[in-house]
């Protein structure tokens, strides 16, 4: 049956059948309740008003019974409210817009590359080919130290970059939310490559004079998916510490003394795609933020494929043949990403998918196991679970692959593609630029569910599900403020340089 189903799926008739099935299964309780209510109503009408009064007077209210029942109700309610997980709200978030002085057009990137990799035509051509097909635009930014020929990535310059992007994001977040530094209870900073002493979280504490009993954390080395790891950590902490604010900073600092200076192609790839960016997110578990918060955190699902050797070595920092340090991206990256995604989906599916999709998946699963293993596995339609998708803008290939696997339309991946075009791959903060895009376009309505998916070294695939708490009105302030009207743009397959 499953073989015939894909053929018929394109026919309109089956589409309506499927719709009907979905309505039936998803609202099954309503369908059961309605006949029962009708039955009761008919019975009441049949009995007539006097009989109802007689029935009411015959009920015997014993004081003890009443008290015990009400106490029981109160105890049950209390236990329920105490054991329920605290709601975590995203009050607001803010992304750093790098200054225009850091802009690196393609022509400049290529010209500098030629001068830096003098004589190494293979590396230069490779970088040009990558750039042409990358999906990046002409406005992406690279930190000031990397504009030099050759780049001058000192630790001091790295700190300067960190201060510039992180403080810019935090300042704008404080302005938007009105929060005062001394009210921040939890601080989490994630930056994979640059990890100085004292940490970047200490840098934030120092700059904003945060409280001395602040719970600060600094996550490094966790790759592009560290942003959602930070959110997960903040959520767990907010379960323990009530009435608190958590500030999460996600960034990647490109100025690094470990910037790859060699000519190994697999290690040059990150240089072509990674760009400057940072995001600051304010989370809260305070009851009074439930009205003003933008989003509510529903789920965070983390999948780690590190137990598999191939996945572990997929994104690996090592020395090349000449002893120069860089991050090696293996050729199996897309395959491993696909498998990690499948794992993640398998876990998140039951949490978010409507009953109709889950049943279909269950039926095809049973069918494959018991009847015919050749049946195609049913890919649940995640478009029914979410209104918006934020796929980590790791590269054009990643977005293409996910669009294919999840059967998403061009509009669903628009936020990801446009973020890649305007800001490049900003690593862990790219998800927030994408959220910002959706908000700036005025598409975020109350009740909309957003799925953020991030991939990172390890190999990890992390997801977060948010529910929009209030409709976001345009125009929004943020990194897209001055250019949102130009988007979406058509991104050609190959840009002629």
């Amino acid at each position: 049956m499953a073989e015939i189903v894909p053929k018929f799926s394109s026919s309109v008739k089956l589409k309506y059948v499927k719709l009907g099935y979905q309505y039936l299964v998803n609202h099954i309780f309503t369908f059961f309740l309605i006949p029962i209510m009708l039955g009761v109503l008919l019975e009441v009408l049949r009995l007539g008003p006097e009989e109802i009064l007689l029935f009411w007077n015959s009920l015997y209210f014993d004081l003890v019974q009443v008290l015990c029942s009400s106490f029981l109700l109160i105890i049950i309610a209390t236990v329920y409210f105490m054991s329920k997980a605290r709601s975590i709200y995203l009050v607001d978030f803010s992304c750093c817009k790098p200054p225009v002085t850091c802009r690196v057009p393609f022509s400049k990137f290529m010209e500098h590359s030629r001068l830096i990799h003098k004589g190494n035509t293979k590396s230069i051509d490779f970088q040009m080919r990558i750039l042409e097909r990358s999906g990046l635009g002409e406005e992406t930014c690279v930190p000031p130290a990397m504009h030099y020929i050759p780049p001058t990535p000192t630790t001091g310059a790295a700190r300067d970059e960190a201060e510039a992007v992180i403080f810019s994001a935090i300042d704008s977040l404080m302005e938007k939310t009105g929060i005062r530094p001394k009210n921040i209870d939890i601080l989490i900073v994630n930056c994979s490559v640059f990890s100085p002493t004292p940490s970047l979280s200490a840098m934030v504490v120092n700059k904003y004079k945060l409280r001395s009993n602040i719970k600060s954390f600094n996550l490094s080395g966790m790759g592009c998916s560290a942003g959602l790891i930070s959110i997960d950590l903040a959520r767990d902490l907010l379960q323990v510490h009530h009435n608190s604010y958590a500030l999460v900073i996600s960034t990647e600092i490109l100025t690094s003394p470990n910037y790859y200076k060699g000519s190994e192609r697999a290690m040059l790839l990150p240089n072509c795609l990674f760009r400057m960016g940072a995001a600051a997110i304010l989370l809260s578990n305070k009851w009074r933020d439930s009205a003003r918060a933008k989003y509510k955190l529903l789920h965070v699902v983390r999948t780690h494929k590190g137990a598999d050797d191939k996945a572990y070595r997929c994104v690996y920092e090592q020395e090349d043949n000449e002893g120069k340090v860089g991050i090696n991206l293996s050729k199996d990256l897309m395959v491993i990403a696909g498998e990690a995604l499948k794992s993640n989906i398998t876990t998140i599916g039951p949490l978010v998918l409507p009953a109709s999709e889950q049943l279909l998946f269950l039926f095809t699963l049973i069918g494959r196991k018991m009847f015919n293993p050749k049946w195609k596995p049913y890919i649940p339609d995640f478009k029914q679970a979410f209104e918006h998708f934020c796929i980590h803008a790791g590269g054009r290939a990643v977005i293409d692959e996910l669009q294919k696997n999840l059967q998403l339309s061009a509009e669903h991946v628009e936020a990801s593609r446009m973020t890649l075009h305007r800001f490049g791959n900003t690593s862990s903060s790219s998800l927030w630029y994408e959220m910002s895009y959706i908000e700036a376009k005025g598409r975020m309505k109350k009740g909309d569910r957003v799925w953020q998916i991030a991939f990172g070294s390890g190999f990890k695939c992390n997801s977060a599900v948010w529910k929009c708490n209030r409709t976001i009105k345009t125009p929004t302030d943020g990194p897209w403020q001055d250019c949102i009207d130009r988007y979406p743009v058509h991104i050609p397959e190959i840009v002629k340089l």
């Binding site: 225009v100 057009p105 010209e111 500098h112």
Partner: protein, 434 residues
């Protein structure tokens, strides 16, 4: 490509060189191209080197990032300056405005500004401005370099390396003045129009009238994609100032019967005669370059619209009265611009010419607004302009006098190195040099 002079490394006088790029803030898009004017193509083997010396107040306390910031808005106005050359199928060169930008060089010098200016060494000035030329990789050669050299006292030298194909010295001066305006926060207006001020001379249909080449040019090359003029002998430069007293003395000497000559005409005449004395051959034909109405616009348009004319003395230079030469320079110049453009267009914009130094050339830059470059309210205390890629006959530039010495002039002479000492003696004899 960058040719680093050996003197730079050997002396260590100017050190801590850091190179980066500065481009326009706005995205120009992928379709904008600029076709250089015919005159620009004729001048493509020449490069202008300008140095502006500022006292310590101008750049005091400014970090590199702060200095670079207004340059991005400034370069919005000049998409062609930030572009790179490409060639059409016929081989004609055009600029693709791809936002690649200008090269920005930072350097340090352990001398104070005053010590440097005391040295009065025009050859050392090469350390303050990059020796840039276009090619051999034409598509990756920046057209403009800006070098900022910080002296020990806090004074700064701003060195401009400018490709003449973009515009003449008047345009280069206005280009820098616009930077001053950007720093002061003025709105610079729309990007400069890439249309040409002079209509392009097209070859007439029918049998081509192959006339003689204009006198003011010399065919060289073919240079291919490396736009440098190779001379048989090494060209050196030296400069000297002419005080107002010296100048008025000279002018009165030249015009006993009352006809007044301008400073340029007077200086040209005298120097022409001096050079004729030290040369074995007759320099009867000289080229005169001076600004035209178009070249003096202040709206930021870049063009090669200076007047290029020739003067033909049909008498013996050595025996003549300098006032006759001055009169000739003043009245007898024949505008050759159309002829130059025809000669270039006849071959589709492909031939390689030199103009400066094809014949002994005198360039009148008295009116060029070099001193109008104001950085944070400070004007330069001194400027120095020269031309690179000059032919063997040499070039003399007459520049405005040092600030505070209004009425005087500064003269930059670019000649074969073996003529320099002799000319200096002659000039001393004439009372122009101390």
């Amino acid at each position: 490509m960058v040719v680093s002079s050996p003197a730079m490394a050997a002396d260590g006088l100017v050190y801590n060189i850091k190179i980066s790029s500065v481009g326009p803030a706005n995205v120009t898009g992928s379709d904008l191209i600029y076709e250089p004017e015919t005159m620009g193509l004729a001048m493509k083997l020449h490069y202008i080197r300008g140095i502006y010396y500022f006292g310590s107040q101008a750049f005091e306390g400014l970090s590199t990032l702060v200095i670079k910031e207004p340059m991005f808005t400034w370069l919005n106005k000049y998409p062609q300056v930030c572009g790179r050359f490409r060639r059409t199928e016929t081989g004609r060169a055009y600029l693709k405005c791809n936002d690649c930008g200008v090269r920005f060089v930072e350097a340090k010098c352990d001398k104070t500004l005053d010590e440097w200016l005391e040295m009065k060494d025009a050859t050392l000035e090469k350390l303050l401005v990059r020796d840039q030329a276009l090619g051999p990789e034409l598509g990756f050669s920046p057209l403009v370099y800006i070098q900022l050299t910080k002296f020990k006292c806090g004074g700064t030298a701003v060195g401009l390396s400018w490709s003449h194909v973009l515009g003449d010295a008047f345009s280069a001066a206005e280009f820098m003045n616009m930077l001053g305006r950007a720093v002061a926060g003025y709105d610079l207006g729309q990007p400069t129009s890439l249309a040409h001020s002079r209509t392009k001379v097209t070859t007439p249909n029918g049998p081509e009238k192959v006339g003689d080449d204009p006198l003011s040019i010399k065919r060289v090359g073919p240079v291919g994609d490396h736009w440098v003029n190779v001379t048989k002998c090494k060209m050196e430069a030296f400069s000297f100032n002419v005080t107002p007293t010296q100048l008025s003395h000279l002018q009165s000497k030249l015009s006993p019967n009352g006809t007044q000559f301008g400073a340029f005409e007077a200086l040209s005449a005298v120097i022409w005669q001096c050079i004729a004395k030290i040369r074995e051959w007759d320099s009867n034909v000289v080229t005169i370059c001076k600004g035209s109405e178009e070249s003096k616009t202040c709206d930021g348009t870049l063009s090669n619209s200076q007047v290029v004319s020739v003067v033909n003395a049909n008498f013996q230079i050595l025996d003549s009265n300098p006032s006759e030469l001055a009169l000739l320079v003043q009245n007898g110049a024949l505008d050759e611009r159309e002829k130059i453009e025809e000669a270039m267009e006849r071959d589709g914009g492909l031939p390689d010419f030199i103009v400066y130094g094809a014949k002994l050339t005198f360039v009148n830059l008295e009116d060029a607004r070099f001193y109008a470059f104001e950085y944070r309210g400070q004007r330069p205390v001194n400027i120095s302009y020269r031309i690179e890629g000059v032919g063997e006959e040499g070039t003399i530039l007459v520049l405005p006098g040092p600030k505070g010495d209004d009425g005087g002039r500064s003269v930059m002479a670019i000649l074969p190195e073996n003529e320099i000492e002799e000319l200096k003696l002659e000039l001393k004899r004439e009372g122009l040099m101390a």
